[in-house]
């Protein structure tokens, strides 16, 4: 399925220098003009995850690799497979793992997403903890039936069985994690940019997780592998090689279905997850300076089942909400968050909940910067909400 044109793949992998144009400016499809005031994003503060262990400065693909390496070394039930996983994966997340843990546990599969996920479900149903990789989230759809009709429903349809010593409590597929790189990178166009989380958040039985940073990725991935429910683990691929973070060398988990308040504030709550958090952070800085307000920023981290309490508590305090995500606005995560807010905090709301998300279209190659929520759009939404 990864019929990626070579130049695109190379650029996504960050192996080649981007082409330079005559005026020596890097040609990118999605860079803001140099005189733009808002559309430069900044890194949001990461949680100060306290740890006594030593840390390493690593980026997101390295932290995914570290989490996988830890899981493989401490639990012989853990398997890792997918297309091109053995040589390290096209994004290098499984680098050196096949040589370290053997080709029985870390291996290539034939090119079939429904086969990969179906195989993983079967292995999980007999007590393994398979981590299956879908090369790009854009290619997960052949596996949709397996995820929706099988993984999500397996425990429910088999019934709940008494917990045994062997851990086979029912014919469920806990331990199953389906990893997939997602989101725009500036030149992925229709089939290397998608972020299909809301197709999975509609499915009870699945947990949908999206980390924002290396530190988060390691803790959330290890929690996903331990989780008794199947987890869709979406990795924003633009962050794989973005900023490094101090990540503890030791293993740790970050609880699933628990949001994090990245920055406290009193006038408006911005709710997001994954890559747009960086734009949200930049927009908040600008808005706080320009409008003399204080904004709260929340990272959902797990998109479903999501932490409704943290969000509602925040809105009850601020009375205003902006929800931001990269995927299309129609029937997106923002719709669910906005509906929950109006149900749970209606009397406290000072303004309609704003959604800033991808427009209801596909990601055309040269239009990405107009399509994905940028700093200007988040800034504007905050402004409108405050001035409503």
């Amino acid at each position: 399925m990864p019929s990626t044109p070579r130049p695109i793949l190379r650029a996504l992998l960050g192996r080649t220098t981007p082409t330079r144009t005559n005026n020596n400016r890097i040609r990118s499809y999605s860079t803001a003009p140099s005189n733009a005031r808002l559309n430069h994003s900044r890194t949001p503060n990461s949680s100060s995850l306290r740890s006594t262990s030593k840390t390493s400065r690593i980026n997101l693909f390295q932290s995914v690799n570290a989490a996988l390496s830890h899981a493989l070394s401490t639990d012989e039930r853990v398997l890792l497979f997918g297309e091109d996983v053995a040589f390290g994966g096209v994004f290098r997340c499984s680098m050196n793992l096949s040589s370290q843990f053997g080709s029985d546990r870390v291996f290539n599969t034939p090119l079939s997403e429904q086969g990969i996920v179906g195989f993983a479900i079967g292995a999980a149903s007999e007590g393994m903890r398979p981590v299956a990789e879908i090369q790009f989230a854009d290619y997960v759809y052949p596996a949709f039936d397996q995820l929706v009709n099988e993984a999500a429903k397996m425990r429910f349809r088999s019934g709940v069985w008494t917990e045994g010593k062997e851990g086979l409590t029912s014919m469920a597929c806990g331990g199953l994690v389906v990893r997939m790189p997602c989101g725009g990178v500036g030149h992925g166009a229709l089939y290397h940019s998608q972020s299909p989380e809301s197709l999975f958040t509609h499915v009870p039985g699945l947990r949908v997780v999206m980390p924002r940073s290396p530190l988060q990725a390691k803790g959330l991935l290890l929690a996903a592998i331990e989780c008794p429910d199947p987890v869709i683990f979406m990795e924003p691929k633009i962050l794989y090689r973005a900023a490094v973070e101090h990540v503890p060398n030791d293993a740790y988990t970050i609880p699933l279905s628990m949001a994090e308040v990245l920055k406290p504030g009193s006038d408006v709550t911005v709710v997001s997850y994954g890559t747009p958090l960086y734009n949200c952070s930049a927009a908040i800085s600008a808005a706080e300076k320009d409008l003399d307000i204080s904004c709260e920023l929340i990272d959902l981290r797990t998109v479903y089942p999501w932490d409704r309490k943290t969000v509602l508590d925040s809105i009850r305090k601020t009375g205003r909400a902006v929800v931001v995500h990269e995927s299309m606005v129609n029937a997106g995560v923002g719709a669910e968050v906005a509906a929950t807010i109006q149900e749970g905090a209606f009397l406290r709301l000072e303004a309609p909940v704003q959604r800033v998300a991808g427009w209801s279209t596909h990601v055309g190659l040269v239009y990405e910067k107009f399509n994905l929520p940028d700093v200007a759009r988040v800034y504007d939404a905050i402004k409108k909400t405050v001035e409503y």
């Binding site: 012989e76 398997l79 029985d104 546990r105 291996f107 599969t109 034939p110 079939s112 429904q114 086969g115 990969i116 996920v117 179906g118 195989f119 993983a120 479900i121 079967g122 292995a123 999980a124 149903s125 007999e126 007590g127 393994m128 398979p130 052949p142 039936d145 397996q146 009709n149 099988e150 999500a152 429903k153 397996m154 425990r155 429910f156 349809r157 088999s158 019934g159 709940v160 069985w161 086979l168 029912s170 014919m171 469920a172 806990g174 009870p204 039985g205 947990r207 989780c227 008794p228 429910d229 279905s257 089942p305 409704r308 309490k309």
Partner: protein, 430 residues
């Protein structure tokens, strides 16, 4: 041979092996020949006894099945057949919502299951009641599932005939076709690794059942391919019964059945007479042995049969096939009558035993039927539980909402059928 080189050397010069990675054993040729599968002979169908229950090859060793085991197989098939008749009628009377019978295919299910070890893991489609019966799934267990009562392992969540039991190592049936086939490959891989990690445990295989229609799904192809490349100890058992609901095999595929596909995936394959329970038993036993050979590999069995029954209680097959065709098949050949003839030929079965056995089974089925029908539905909380390992905050809130609406509109809902009534929801008043 004017060049003065030996013939073999000449041929290898003329037709050296290719070096393309995709087909390393291929040789070059100058003949422009297309493979024409339609001109090749079809794969033969293995059998042990004929329609009259007589051993076809008198010179071969008798199969490794004792009379006692053969009678157990016979009784298992008979039980399925009698339960099918009773439940089909019960559905027609409106006493349960749906049913699927196995008529014509009892031999494939019972014969193959009897050749497996009880610890072997099974994934089934929906017409393998005989597998459950052979594994000791009791009449009460069948009936509890069919009536979706509080003793149903599936907690009243599934349509009838979607059995499943961890106790019997059979995964729960799901309606989507073919989805279980890649599961079987993955589960077999799990068993293979577990056997390597615990050398004291006896190696196990996975057996996976599906129909010839399901084999058109992508899942089938993905599963066979991944099972072959990962050397998974799995026995794929295709029941080719001639029909996918109304679609005959002629409109389902153009190749030589499903068996020819196994060959394409590099999988050892055999076609067997599905009405010959001994042949099914023998090839399954051999398939199991081979599946565990040399670290593991998949095997494909295509068991040929004829779906005597309608697809399900929702289907009237005489809308698309002649009644006479079905009557002919019933008269001509059938796994149950064939084994009966064999047993009678050996003098270990007779009309008297037949009558007594049939009447005992019928009595047992009806008793279990009556017990199950009287049971309550499972508690209402089972509507939400089991989706996640633990109820989510959202689900708990929704259960309180549901309780609230039922309490405020008591005339609109009847919860008395359910265990514990409204309290079975397990949430307090909101």
């Amino acid at each position: 041979m004017e060049l003065g080189v030996p013939a073999t050397r000449f041929r290898s010069l003329m037709f050296p092996s290719v070096h393309f990675p995709g087909a390393v054993n291929s040789k070059f040729t100058t003949a422009l020949d297309f493979e024409r599968p339609s001109e090749k002979p079809a794969m033969p169908t293995y059998r042990y006894m004929d329609q009259d229950g007589a051993i076809v090859d008198k010179n071969r060793e008798p199969i490794d099945v004792s009379d006692e085991e053969a009678i157990k197989m016979y009784k298992d098939m008979l039980t399925v057949s009698i339960m099918d008749l009773i439940m089909f009628d019960a559905q027609r009377q409106g006493r349960l919502s749906f049913y699927m019978v196995s008529a014509g295919e009892e031999g494939i299910a019972v014969g193959s299951a009897a050749a497996l070890n009880p610890a072997d893991v099974i994934f089934a489609q929906y017409r393998e009641t005989g597998v459950f019966q052979q594994r000791g799934f009791s009449l009460d267990e069948f009936m509890s599932q069919l009536f979706a009562n509080c003793k149903d392992y599936g907690k009243g969540r599934n349509m009838p005939v979607h059995y499943g039991s961890r106790k019997h190592n059979i995964h729960t049936i799901s309606s989507p076709l073919a989805t279980q086939i890649p599961h079987a490959a993955g589960a077999a891989y799990a068993l293979k690794l577990q056997a390597a990690q615990n050398p004291n445990e006896e190696p196990r295989v996975v057996a996976c059942y599906f129909g010839e229609g399901a084999a058109s799904e992508g899942d089938f192809h993905a599963a066979l391919n991944i099972a072959a490349t990962r050397n998974c100890p799995v026995v794929f058992i295709c029941r080719n019964n001639g029909y996918a609901i109304s679609t005959p095999t002629l409109e389902q595929y153009r190749g030589d059945g499903i068996a020819s596909r196994g060959v394409g995936y590099g999988i050892e394959t055999i076609r067997v007479d599905g009405n010959d329970i001994f042949a099914v038993h023998e090839v399954t036993k051999e398939a199991r042995r081979r599946a565990l050979e040399g670290g593991g590999k998949p095997i494909l069995i295509e068991a040929m049969s004829y779906r005597v029954s309608h697809h399900s209680t929702s289907d009237d097959s005489f809308a698309y096939r002649a009644k006479v065709e079905v009557e002919d098949w019933k008269r001509r050949d059938n796994p149950i009558t064939r084994l009966r003839k064999y047993l009678e030929g050996k003098g270990v079965w007779n009309e008297e035993k037949e009558k007594a056995t049939r009447s005992a089974i019928r009595k047992d089925v009806l008793a279990a039927f009556n017990r199950a029908e009287k049971e309550k539905r499972p508690a209402l909380r089972n509507m939400m539980e089991g989706v996640y390992a633990q109820l989510t905050e959202e689900q708990e809130a929704q259960m309180r909402q549901l309780r609230d609406i039922i309490e405020r509109y008591p005339d609109e809902y009847d919860v008395s059928e359910f265990e514990g009534g409204l309290d079975g929801l397990g949430v307090k008043r909101s």
